[in-house]
């Protein structure tokens, strides 16, 4: 019996020692926080507070009411005040944001997703073939899309500007597109000429406006069996200065699925749009669509991200009830600008695009607002986050209160 007690006591001691060591190790890395030196404008002062707190901690052994002790207390106060403010902000922000699910959001939250099919427009300094900047001249370029598949095409434009934004005469002297090798192993390049023109024909809409346009048809121009980046370099001449415009697109010949219509259903207080899809290649699909109200005002962004089997399937896009109740959009709603792709993990290209559905693809029925549920989103993920964020805020509040004293 005595021997058993000794074993028990020894085991308990060992376990408690292990637990103590484990907890101490977890804390050791935060005990010596300090701040980076230097200027700038910051809106979170907790880094500096931590530095001071750390310095004060290093003076351990002084009395709590000595000058150093009081300073250390003030620094700890500043540190925990910062932590408390951040944890409160994080908690409140998450709570408010997740009133709606992550896949059914006010579109104001996604400012660059409102018009997803607008050309990507950029303005950059004119650079010569060596990459050096040519002073005083800029190129404004557009490209219709970055990712494309199958028979899709992409339009490019180039125009020259001075620093004041005034159009400058420009000529595209030559342009070519080629595959971009992704490996260090030599591979055969695919190359094709591309014709930019300002004659008001083909891809060019207005003759002689100084804006040169071209359209690339990867499937018809030698890239039908290629998946990867196609780089288009256009040599330009602006006021006697030679330069280059540079475009990249990512192409895959495969079209993994095709669209087959839309249906809607008001279910459990939310409006679900079911995008019908014929899936050729199963896998994880990512899709999004915009919802405008009856006046054409952008209202919501709906997203889909899930595994889908091959065959006739549906992507379910949910317009969350509380979002409708909170914003009261005018019905009927219009579902527009739908895009989607197969997400292919751990490789490049990481996606095979479905054809874009540009413009309005579906108009909803009209529903009374009280048919939508006012309930906020509920999920295990949300509860998990709110519990943790709440714990953090409460810990910081209690620590702050303790430091502030009675």
């Amino acid at each position: 019996m005595a021997r058993r007690k000794v074993i028990l006591i020894a085991s308990a001691t060992l376990a408690l020692a292990a637990l103590g060591w484990y907890l101490a190790a977890a804390q050791v890395d935060t005990a010596s926080g300090d701040a980076g030196a230097g200027g700038g404008t910051a809106i979170n002062p907790t880094g500096a507070a931590a530095a001071a707190a750390s310095a004060a901690n290093a003076t351990g052994g002084r009395g709590p009411f000595s000058a150093a002790g009081l300073q250390a207390r003030q620094e700890q106060l500043a540190l925990w005040r910062g932590r408390y403010e951040r944890s409160e902000q994080v908690y409140a922000s998450y709570r408010d944001a997740t009133r709606y699910p992550h896949t059914s959001r006010p579109i104001s939250e996604h400012p660059d997703q409102v018009r997803p099919f607008d050309p990507v427009s950029e303005e950059k300094v004119l650079r010569n073939a060596k990459g050096d900047a040519v002073k005083g001249l800029r190129l404004r370029t557009t490209q219709e899309r970055v990712f494309l598949s199958g028979a899709e095409t992409v339009k490019f434009t180039i125009e020259a500007l001075d620093d004041a934004g005034q159009a400058q005469p420009m000529v595209v002297t030559s342009a070519a597109a080629q595959s971009l090798p992704e490996t260090r192993t030599p591979v055969a390049l695919i190359q094709t000429g591309v014709e930019f023109s300002d004659r008001g024909t083909g891809a060019d809409e207005v003759a002689n406006d100084g804006k040169y346009s071209a359209r690339l048809h990867p499937a018809q121009q030698g890239f039908a069996g290629y998946a990867g980046t196609i780089r288009l370099l256009a040599q330009v001449s602006v006021k006697g200065e030679a330069g280059v415009a540079h475009f990249d697109v990512v192409y895959t010949p495969e079209v993994p699925a095709t669209w087959a219509g839309v249906r809607e259903a008001l279910e459990a207080g939310a409006l679900n749009f079911y995008l019908k899809v014929n899936v050729v290649r199963p896998g994880r699909y990512v899709a999004s669509a915009r919802v405008d109200d009856a006046h054409g005002v952008p209202f919501a962004l709906l997203q889909f991200n899930d595994e889908v089997a091959a065959g006739a399937r549906e992507f379910k896009l949910t317009l969350f009830g509380a979002l409708v109740r909170d914003r009261s959009p005018a019905f009927p709603l219009r579902l527009r600008d739908v895009d989607g792709f197969l997400l292919i993990p751990d490789t490049f290209p990481d996606r095979a695009m479905m054809a874009r559905q540009s413009g309005v693809v579906h108009t909803s029925a009209s529903y009374a607002i009280d048919r939508f549920s006012p309930a906020e989103w509920s999920s295990e993920e949300r509860e998990r986050y709110l519990a943790e964020y709440s714990r953090d805020a409460e810990t910081a509040r209690a620590q702050l209160q303790r430091l502030q004293g009675p």
């Binding site: 926080g33 950059k124 971009l180 991200n305 993990p345 953090d392």
Partner: protein
């Protein structure tokens, strides 16, 4: 008698005591005890050994404080975001599932990595892992159950390249690594919906000590990325944003406010540090340098 004292009556049973101790040790060994971690995601060029979560070569001395239980999420900094992103997801699975939670710090292209993971994989089912990585940076399952997404408290970003860099256009970077093509502004910005962070905050730290490429990088820059990217500005690249002292350029606003000229930031992105004195460049210099020093300080103070 108070309930608390009666609660220890099981101590009289040796078998129960042994069982409780065994359970406690299993919990400790298996990482069941709730633990916070600080994950550091490197940028271009890498330097640390991929999969080795203890190798801080990219950042600086590993003895430097950089948040609780710091982990170096090494990816190669050379290949495409998409084909290296598994390294980030593996680390998030390891340390940010089950009862464990993470703070994340990212530098430069590491911003693209964490943004890509959250936007495209943040809603996926993740196995709960035991925080004990193999040499490949992969951890074992705890109980075989899954959860939706990862447990991430917030993300600090130094010199974020999620908006790309004009230096990725032809000519500025002599090498043509696959990653450089991802860093082209149009490509980086089209890669995923940068607003979809699943309501986790990205705290942005933007440096401005750039001179070498000031003719190429618009507005203020840290010698590798411009404010439009480091400040989490939405929309197309190529736009110049500056410190308030520059009267001829729109201001990058602190916090979540839209910038001067009206361009919004991505959702849940807040500019915490703007380098008004042009003191911080892009580079860690193997010693937690440049604007990374500001993020390191914040992690040391607040990732607890």
């Amino acid at each position: 008698m108070r309930q608390g004292f009666r609660g220890f009556s099981w101590l009289r049973s040796p078998r129960a005591v042994m069982a409780a101790l065994a359970a406690a040790l299993v919990c400790i060994a298996g990482g069941v005890y709730a633990t916070n971690y600080s994950l550091w995601i490197n940028g271009r060029t890498g330097g640390g050994q991929p999969g080795n979560h203890a190798d801080f070569t990219y950042w600086g001395p590993s003895s430097t404080a950089a948040g609780v239980n710091k982990i170096s999420v090494n990816w190669d900094g050379y290949n495409r975001i998409s084909d290296q992103n598994y390294r980030i997801r593996d680390a998030l699975d390891c340390y940010c599932t089950g009862t464990n939670w993470c703070y994340v710090a990212a530098h430069s292209a590491g911003n693209l990595q964490i943004g890509y993971a959250l936007s495209l994989y943040g809603s996926t089912a993740r196995y709960k892992k035991n925080a004990t990585p193999s040499s490949a940076g992969v951890c074992g399952n705890t109980d075989g159950s899954t959860q939706t997404g990862w447990n991430i408290k917030w993300v600090d970003v130094a010199a974020g390249a999620a908006g790309g860099s004009e230096l990725a256009d032809v000519g500025s970077w002599a090498v043509s690594d696959p990653l450089t093509a991802d860093l082209k502004t149009s490509t980086a910005r089209a890669m995923y919906d940068h607003n979809q962070t699943r309501a986790k905050w990205f705290y942005m730290y933007a440096g401005a000590k750039g001179t070498l490429y000031s003719a190429v990088l618009p507005g203020q820059d840290d010698e590798a990325v411009a404010y439009h990217s480091a400040g989490g500005v939405s929309g197309s690249g190529g736009a110049g944003f500056c410190n308030p002292s520059d009267w001829f350029c729109n201001d990058l606003k602190l916090g979540t406010a839209a910038n001067e000229g009206g361009r919004a930031k991505w959702a849940y992105h807040s500019v915490i540090f703007r380098d008004d004195t042009e003191s911080f460049n892009h580079y860690t210099n193997g010693n937690w340098g440049g604007v990374v020093s500001k993020v390191r300080a914040d992690m040391a103070a607040n990732a607890n």
